[in-house]
Amino acid sequence: MSTSGPLPDRLGARSLDPHLGRYAARAEGMTASEVRALFAVASRPEVVSLAGGMPNLAALPLDFLSDQIASIVADDGLVALQYGSAHGIPLLREQICEVMALEGVTGHPDDLVVTVGSQMALDLVTRIFIDPGDIVLAEGPSYVGALGTFASYQADVRHVVMDEHGLVPEALRAALAAAAQAGRRVKFLYTIPNFNNPAGVTLAVARRAEVLDICARHDVLVIEDNPYGLLGFDGQVYPALRSMDSDNVIYLGSFSKTFASGLRVGWALAPHAVREKLVLAAESAALCAPTLNQMVVSRYLATHDWKGQIKSFQTMYRDRRDALLAGLEQHMPAGCSWTRPDGGFFVWLTVPEGVDTKAMQPRAVTARVAYVPGTGFYADGFGSRQMRLSFCYPPPERITEGVRRLAGVLADELDLLRTFGPTASRSLSGPQTPAPDTA
């Protein structure tokens, strides 16, 4: 044996991570992945990225904002640059209540906590409700950033199917019954009722009361995550779940999609009893959301036609959605189906039987088009026949070009599958986490 010589032995042995033995169990899935690596290419301008979920900020009034920010610092700098309360700036909390009123929510500013994006709100809610192994119900597919948070608190995520009208109440009942049968406790339902990320579908208004009723009967809290609610392309707004049940819903909101994602200002509106814990959790997580950023949002809401700005976002995203849907209609091969969102950022595409969207991704990158493989939006390895296409960022003509490229990739993949036969489709592999900028 040439390899077991006792000589130099472990002298030069090394693991490149001396902390290996120390990590918590929740760090287990945090590894490099090919999927993430390919997103490095997707961010190049040569590639049409239908992968990223970044809002398009080009229409923001930058000159106006820079004057406002300067004046905040000049007039009120010692407040703006100082710690604030973990609860959030009172004036901003009042203004947020006015924003939520557009969707029928009547909340008290005291029951609202300002957070570092709604992502932090999601973290706080999970932190205060979930013990390792607790069941969380989420739509299938669901927001990858939420799945990451649930995973880091070691929740047991079960998906509930959607159809074109959103979460299917019957499936929700079945999931709750299955958990009860297994003697397991379901802590909450996490739902994105409007223009779901990634599915693009909206929970039908007619289903909303039913979903709330089912959850109330089973003593299951509802987490309503609603960053896209004001981005209906026809200016339509749907009544928030929170507007129909103020006792059993925690509502998460954000300025990321309606104003500026980089400011990282979001919020949670919770039933009175929960609010105290949220504030304390916020304090231990971040002390407070950035004061300056809260003041910028507050000033913007007070001095700018923010509703007009949202209208212009709606128009811009609608044009992009139209380009994507027209392109899909024109180019996609038989056997594909997709959702037709009337708001938000995303279309959910199902490809023909046998195609594995993760296995196909390198081919797409070679063809200079990127998407997010569907498995990232499930906690259970499902979604290999799906992909998320975002229309928020590239201009319409690039979207059209991207779909053309994608159709070519799919045609080649189908050719390959015809060659290697039906057994060539890949078995389900574990969940993959796309990079945060693809969320």
Binding site: L7, S15, L16, V41, R44, T423
Partner: protein
């Protein structure tokens, strides 16, 4: 060193962009530490105008995958008359293609796993199943399947049963139009860096690779901690010498220049198999070349600074 400066090229549009960016950052920092002024440039449409306008004294190619290793960027640099570190364009074209390199070395008597290489079209036109059956008959199972070109283990798979083969084919062909199927060699994986010096090519100490999962795939390569490295490799002296000699022979026989890294597997019976040669070896924090340099008591910066001098002098 005075006012001499080099451009480090990293990024590009290959599947290995991410790895390349990390290699670029690492080698740039190492060069600066050795007193060489460095600019880091991506390989995009602005590159040619930049090269023409600023004319670096030399270029270090930290691009991985197609454009960095198949001779393209080398050809451009030769056209512009800018010195660069690494193998010349024509040789890159041959050595980068794994089956071509294997064939050349086998002709010269080097041991390499038996293989077949086939384009996607062959399976389409001749019918996949009979071709797959013939492959299994020839190479046995388990079988190694990989794209005929490329790196970072992208698309590389160990196929353990005939039933897995169609799926694995689809996976490998996602990265390239042709697939290289090889006899799988069960053994210890080693990587040997070769650096040209005044006395000709010299092998640095071999690095032995022991991935916790048993497979040195993308995750095992770029997540610190998932692989244990033994430097020098735990080989007896005779085998260690054989491994070093293999790498130097591959470097010589293929006509490589400045630096290369040969990947090899030492079988249970002590035979050393050539797997592939890397023309633009990874230079990241978890890469093999920097470990070998350290084991040799040399710094990455001094090695590359020396290669820059060579490039400028030729």
């Amino acid at each position: 060193m005075s006012d001499r400066w080099v451009a480090v090229l990293a990024g590009g549009l290959s599947h290995e962009r991410d790895v390349s960016l990390r290699s670029g950052r690492r080698v740039s920092a190492a060069l600066r530490q050795s007193g060489v002024a460095v600019e880091e440039w991506d390989a995009d449409a602005s590159l040619l105008p930049k090269l023409r306008e600023h004319r670096p004294d030399a270029v270090v190619i930290a691009l991985h995958g197609g454009e960095g290793e198949n001779g393209s960027i080398q050809t451009i640099l030769e056209l512009l008359g800018i010195p660069y570190v690494g193998t010349d364009a024509g040789t890159c074209r041959r050595a980068w293609d794994k089956p071509t390199a294997k064939a050349e070395l086998r002709r010269a008597g080097v041991l390499t796993p038996d293989w077949v290489v086939l384009p996607q079209s062959a399976f389409r036109e001749l019918g996949a199943q009979p071709v797959l059956d013939a492959m299994v008959e020839r190479l046995g199972l388990p079988m190694m399947l990989k794209p005929d070109q490329g790196g970072s283990a992208l698309g590389a798979q160990v196929v353990r049963s005939a039933a897995e083969l169609p799926t694995a084919m689809v996976g490998s062909l996602a990265y390239s139009d042709a697939v290289l199927a090889e006899q799988f060699i069960d053994g210890v994986e080693v990587a040997v860096t070769v650096v040209d010096g005044p006395g000709g090519p010299e092998a640095l100490p071999a690095v032995e690779i022991a991935p916790a999962s048993g497979v040195y795939d993308y995750t095992a390569r770029y997540t610190a901690g998932l692989t244990t490295f033994h430097t020098p490799a735990r080989l007896d002296d005779a085998t260690a010498a054989k491994v070093a000699e293999l790498a130097v022979s591959a470097h010589r026989l293929l006509g490589l220049r400045d630096v290369s890294r040969t990947d090899a597997v030492v079988s249970a019976t002590g035979e050393v198999y050539f797997i592939e040669v890397n023309l633009s070896p990874g230079l990241t924090e978890t890469s093999l070349l920097p470990m070998a340099a350290e084991a040799a008591g040399r710094s990455l910066g001094s090695i590359y600074a020396g290669l820059v001098d060579r490039a400028i002098a030729r």
